[in-house]
Symmetry: D3
Subunit: 68 residues, 6 copies
């Protein structure tokens, strides 16, 4: 029954990493709450770095600052 | 006042199907809860099949298995 | 696979109305997108009228104005 | 058309503060994107501090540490 | 701690407008609830106008009607 | 930067289980995507079993059937 939504910035998350997130999250819900994997959804949203703000700034800006 | 979010995998949902989902959902809220269509939002999110997991697997994998 | 989230104000939605919303939404996804009901989630969130704003106002205020 | 969802911990947010959040958010969308307030939704979710984690910890724990 | 999700239709929102939405929302949460900007997330989702329905219609249709 | 939302039915999830979900999810994002725990949010929503539908039925009904 669980529905898990993982929002991350779209910074080249690979297919294998997505599989690892799905696997790990589903296993966690089995281990902690004994949920049925067959009815456990994990949905990953990848958000453009212009569209994610933290501390007043867009992540795009924060990344640029981090590389200067 | 209702806000409905429909998340489905991005497997070629047509414009007409989206209209049918919007129409049907709005009508349901009118029929069941007597809501005002003019302030009823229906938002459809289409999710990449790599990004949707069920039963430990990405839907991409499940689709491939279903076609082998 | 679909996940549907229905947000409405918490204005005495009955158990039967919730069942009707779940039934109707699931049937719609079967009819329009041929989805499998066994893996179709419908989650209803009921939101306090103080916590829902439209046109600058809380729904609580709008309801009071409507009854004066 | 905008839908804004504000999630905060349920730490005694007053009705007036909720009105201020609704008012300010709606005005921001008018000012920045020229959106119509009559079809701008702002929904505030208040989350129990046991249910919100940051840096491995529940906010309940972080609050207790902050007061020791 | 706040997490704010702003959903708007994908009608050419510029990078500067996104920055203004992030800035304004974060400042609002500082002013109203004294929240820490460093742990305030603002995430903007841009939704295709075929995927957003209001009053039974897709926004794409509403926009076309408005221009006829 | 990640924001993770875990929705489960409100069937007596304990404080310790919530901590385990927060801990496990945060660690997963560190391990898989090398994310910073200090800016990783995990929010758990507990949904009434009348409000969660799967396969046309409310979970309340499914639970009753399972116990008959």
């Amino acid at each position: 029954m669980p529905y898990v939504n993982i929002k991350v910035t779209d910074e080249n998350v690979t297919k294998e990493q997505k599989q690892a997130l799905i696997q790990g999250t589903t296993q966690l819900l089995v281990d902690v709450l004994n949920k049925n994997p067959a009815t456990t959804f994990v949905v990953i949203d990848e958000v453009n770095t212009d569209n994610w703000g933290i501390g007043f700034d867009q992540v795009t800006t924060l990344r640029q600052l981090a590389h200067t």
